[in-house]
Symmetry: D2
Subunit: 464 residues, 4 copies
């Protein structure tokens, strides 16, 4: 490739910095409305100009030690007010399924989520933070009017927060049939007993409601009909937050990842979502779009890591052996590979989002699984390169890199480890076996026939 | 993920086998015309039902030893006649730049090229084989009427074949300024002296014309204006095919990869394309779409390898240790990863194709480079897994795998090795440095300001 | 690290080029006798000065086409005579088990085999080529006096060659119990029926004897007692060499990898090795040292590839973009990684060799498996980097690289694919499970006890 | 490989659990004295039975919050007393250079260090913890009698601790010539001004002395003679510990990684080590053995991670989809690869240790660099697999895995990032270029001569 060509194309590009809308991969551009492009640009500006600077304030206001769990940094409410005013609120609820949201498709929101992934506070500022997003979807989709009034309305307003309680400490929860939390019907109540962990967000003082997965019918022979979902107020008697788990060395206060015990916790039967035995169905529906959100935020984190890496290797103070780091061929290769890997992963996620938009998440199981597996591995690789380029600064609190890495590392585990998804993807792909074998055999037979007819001596014999 | 969900979605899918058009990634579907979808399905059927069986006949007709260079297997002409009749002819010339082709976009043709990549003979059958495609583009774009009449018309008809002579044995040709072939003006003629190799297709008895890159002005201070391109009849006096090069152990007869010497080869000045000093410009324009073609054919090869692998691991005769290979978790993981990697790479190529369609290849330098680097590495990994799953059969003539691997291995080298492209991509991305550093510094300053205003103690200090 | 330090150490090194003995990893040096060091240096000189130059002559004498199978290049006999005279003959038979060899340990011969791996002809020149080596071991270990006289003596003299026939085309032979060749006792004879492939060396006109694995007792309930090994003269009636298999396009003439059919092939019962039902035992014993030989030759091939790569990146004719390739950081990193990976792999093989020397191959199953899996993957990576650094020259006949790659690629398949070995290694390592779990539980209990005694609040709880 | 064979060899092994001495790779065994084997076994027992249980107590006694920096867990002194009594004290000082130590070679101590690497407290318990070990080496090697009396004696007794201050926050310290700390001579004193970070161990209340690298002669044209090393009491006026840095969220209290500012810090000239301008020489000597220690401890950490993984995949409570995790082929492959990678890396380190033992660290620059680069990458991969096998438990405080990962991640950065070492290794290896090119050219010429003499047509032409 010629130098001059590249310079020309760069001149063209650098005339005006590209907006977020300009950077939408061209293959996806046609499916993004003009309104979405405008809002996307607004989200970019809000994140880059308001939220990322506020990240530092967030951590500084948070302070150190136990008191971090007692309250939450005031900057959050300021940003929420700003976002609401700008209309950057509840952007995540897809237009084809929910009337409560801002009216964007999964593709459009996915593009916005990428930018939110560059900041610690942005998702929450726009009321688009996990696990509230998935919980709001569940309530909007399956909740009764009373349930919606009690929990969905304040969640949509950003007045309370919520947690989703599914994983358990003593079993392999990647297989949901292993769950042991018991929900026993007693009169008009359910009595809950059991233990949950990795209940993210339960550490926050605003967390008011738990969406809890348990078993109402543990002996049902259909192992996918044993589970139910109940809405449990966080303040209910019998609930104890035993401790908070760390992720590598981060405890993510005040959000937190709680281990919670339930001892004879009583909730009215009206807390049941959708009906007994529908729990598995509910979590299935819940996971799809959430995986896209996580994936796009991780893409944003990877883009941020790449920016930090570019900043580092062009830092005039950081010459080694007489050279700017950006003159070292290995660094340029890392940058190039990061660019390429991010771009490929983004297309995988956007394609999955469009597939969900076509109908629903069930329609996009394969595409979602691809995004679920590919993106965190990619983002971890990109961030790790950036860490390495920073040396000591990369692993400590002076860059956002180590913390981002730890966050994203959990995505290879949450909602089922990569290996479980790969096995399922493999089995699914392998269902083509008969069709494929039959086709290849037909081709072999046709080939053999052709050779026989022609009278020439066959070369090779198919090992099919 | 639940078993029942997957079964359902599979039932839905398996009702009727998906056509090629059904399998277009949803994110690209909107940009593909109905006519293109129909032709795509035709191409799929032609390849799977006619060409792949004919591959065996091709190799058998070819036979062994020296005589393979003297002629070419008759099945080729039969298939060309069929393809022409079906309208599957010259599909590659993009509609927004050429009137001579079938009127498809790069995206649309790319989808078709994937299927052609599954067969040894398909591209040639549809008159879409390299290097003729790139050569026809050059002639259509830059040729004079006389040049077109002499060479483009018979090429478009499939009556002759051509070669592109650029790489040289004694220099590092990934840097085009290194070229040493001399084209000296003498009166109304040019006299060519020098040596070329990797002149693919020059082995074929039908190869009638060479498109030759050389230097008319080797002392020009602008090193990108020294080169010119001449059209040289293969039969010209002074031209000697010294030998043919092998790729791993394959010589690819009768196509071949020739080393050719030029000793005082004389052609009329009217053979000059576009004008003296325009050589670099011509090859730049030539490379973009060709890289997309190669990439999409490689995607097809990878899909074929995956099919063969699926066939193998479900072969009832190939149980080991009491199990079908498809029951081994490692094999399922290979299948899943292959599926995922192919899908990601395809999106990268299709996005590049759409970007070319938007304007031209210059517009898509970044996207084309991404496809150029990513796809061969992906395809090699997928094919290698398939080889491994076949054991001895995988490395020999009884599967198409080893041969496909060797072909695609050259793509990491041809048109510049991966490493050169990665360096260029890295430099290009690194041109964002000032913009990025300025943004991050603005963010840091804004953050510091916020913390100062709030009066809290700062946590961490940015290592920016 | 300081420049001056490195320069000093280099000056020290460069005073006199290091011999092969100097380059023995220091950790292995104590176990190598002075005589072995001398012979090792002789082998190095013989390979570098006689054999590698003769490789070119070998290929040139071999020529092209079918006639390559009819005879073998005369240079072979010249080199054999030289090697015999130098005492570089039958170096492979380990001193603690065989009196017929040159009296070296597996470690010592392994070091020599590394150098032989750098040349096409060296192993054969020293009568140390597979599959004769393994076959001679079998005969020396298990043969009757008559069998030794008939086959071992001429093999040790280098007068004939041999093949080992185990793998079959229609079954998954990585599981030896799948073998289908039938050896039926009829009076004083065995009648053989079946089909073998990948019978390497059977193409050579000098190949006089096949060591054949088959089933004498296919219904034996102990699936490891069904097999027997017979010595079958290549010229026996009923044997047909159906064809030769290629390896990535190379047919390895005149050695060859044959597919051979047996139709009512009759041999006297005295051809039985060791006794009926002992076949599995024989091949087990045969494989261990052979894997070390292959591994060390592959190390040699990797060293050769690294030399070629160093030669390329310092080739003054091959500057790109104004720089010697060796000035590109990525190339230096490839060289460094190659150095490191070769060194690590070599230590794994040498450690396995010492473990065999301690007692026998059974004693070293784990160590041999590690070498079997690690070395080919390493060598393929190193060679592939060298190929890439050469561009077009790397994949064709102008370097030894592509051919070496293809040869070594088969080692990931031969004697069981990597994946089978990894599963077995994993199962073996996993047999520690009870011991490990008990230890970790004891530690956890002891830790809990300590915390309890101390009266402090426990931090974390072990997820053991 | 046969099941029965493996079972047999396992039976043999499992009769009695292997001791640490039994597990020494056989290739290294001959160089380990009987006394060292005995002590090695003692170290193993001390670590497994005393230290690992005490790790939990250590963390529990440490507690939470700021007070962790004020003191250190009492269990440390108890263990130190035990270790001293057992003679497991100052094992690290190699016998051929120091009379103060326990009289072991680097190889022998390396084997012991592996076991210490399995516990948080073991190295300190045996007075073998970094950075004291390197500091004691410096003092023993270069210190005056007065310096030894003041600092070495209490360090050898385990009465005080120390820190090594070299890295600086504002420069790329992987290039030691970038250091900016000024040490100005004023009369009989030096005045220090500057800033250091990653001063590990400076957080500990027992840390009494800093070994400080700075520049006494910043304008010296020999950039490797500008540096000097001074011994600075931690309590000196003008020294401020600004803050402690975290490593992926871990602050490693009370040890800590401090950022320390020096403002007009005055020390007597007698604090100078070895003499002005000898700083570079001192750190060079200091780094070699320390890298071996780090590497072997990392090997121990990897072994521990593998044990934890084996424990997990055989945990009867953790079945997924009806299977024990150890029955999943992918898990077995992870275990096998981990086993293999650990074994290869260990051999690389042990070989480097023997090379140091032969003479000194300068003698082993290449081997030490190989260990420095290979081991952390290997250990991170092994630990990450273990994390993944544990799911949520793997990333949090309930396993030692995440913390070990974070610790070892810093080793890819400390003492120069991998990339700097790889470049240096590549340059070093590349110094063979002339020798290699000359040899290959001689071989080519000899080959050409042979072909010419034989009169046959040459096949291929060397692209050398």
């Amino acid at each position: 490739m010629s130098k001059s060509e590249f310079s020309q194309s760069l001149l063209a590009n650098s005339a005006r910095p590209q907006t977020a809308a300009d950077k939408i991969p061209i293959i996806a551009r046609g499916a993004v409305s003009d309104r979405a492009k405008e809002v996307l640009n607004q989200v970019e500006r809000f994140v880059e100009e308001e939220c990322i600077p506020a990240d530092v304030l967030f951590h500084s206001q948070l302070g150190e030690g136990e008191r971090r769990w007692a309250t939450y940094p005031p900057v959050i409410d300021e940003l929420k007010a700003k976002a609401k005013k700008l209309g950057l609120w509840n952007l995540f609820l897809p237009k084809n399924h929910f009337k409560e949201g801002a009216g964007f498709s999964n593709l459009e929101y996915g593009l916005m989520a990428e930018y939110m992934g560059k900041s610690r506070v942005a998702s929450e500022a726009c009321n688009c933070a996990a696990p509230d997003t998935g919980n709001m979807e569940v309530l909007a989709k399956y909740g009764t009017d009373a349930q919606k009034k009690q929990w969905l309305v304040p969640l949509l307003n950003g007045d309370i927060r919520s947690a989703f309680l599914m994983t358990e400490p003593d079993v392999a929860s990647s297989d949901a049939t292993n769950i042991t939390m018991i929900m026993e019907k007693q009169g008009n109540d359910y009595i809950l007993n059991g233990s949950k962990w990795w209940s993210s967000g339960a550490g926050d003082p605003r967390c008011a409601v738990y969406i809890v997965m348990g078993k109402t019918d543990p002996s049902n022979r259909d192992t996918y009909r044993q589970q139910s979902v109940l809405l449990v107020p966080a303040a209910t008697k019998g609930i104890t937050i035993e401790r908070c788990l760390s992720v590598y060395g981060y405890d993510d206060a005040p959000h937190g990842h709680a281990q919670i015990s339930f001892k004879d916790v009583r909730v009215p039967a009206s807390s049941m979502v959708l009906g007994e035995g529908r729990g598995f169905e509910i979590i299935q529906g819940r996971l799809g779009p959430g995986r896209i959100h996580h994936a796009m935020r991780s893409i944003g984190a990877a883009e941020k890591a790449l920016e930090w890496m570019i900043a580092r290797v062009n830092d005039p103070r950081k010459k080694t052996f007489g050279k700017q780091l950006s003159e070292h061929g290995v660094m340029l290769e890392w940058i190039a590979k990061s660019r390429l890997e991010i771009d490929a992963a983004r297309l995988i996620v956007l394609n999955a989002a469009v597939k969900i938009d076509e109908k629903d998440a069930k329609n996009a199981l394969k595409e979602i699984a691809e995004a679920k597996v590919l993106v965190p591995q990619m983002a971890l690789a990109v961030i790790d390169r950036a860490v390495q380029s920073y040396g000591g600064a990369g692993v400590c609190q002076d860059t956002p890199l180590a913390n981002m890495w730890a966050q994203i590392r959990t995505l290879r585990i949450a909602d089922g480890p990569d290996e479980v998804h790969l096995q399922q993807m493999g089995k699914n792909e392998n269902k083509r076996a008969r069709e494929v074998r039959e086709k290849l055999e037909r081709q072999r037979e046709a080939g053999d026939r052709l050779v026989k007819q022609s009278g020439v001596k066959p070369v090779g014999k198919s090992m099919l």
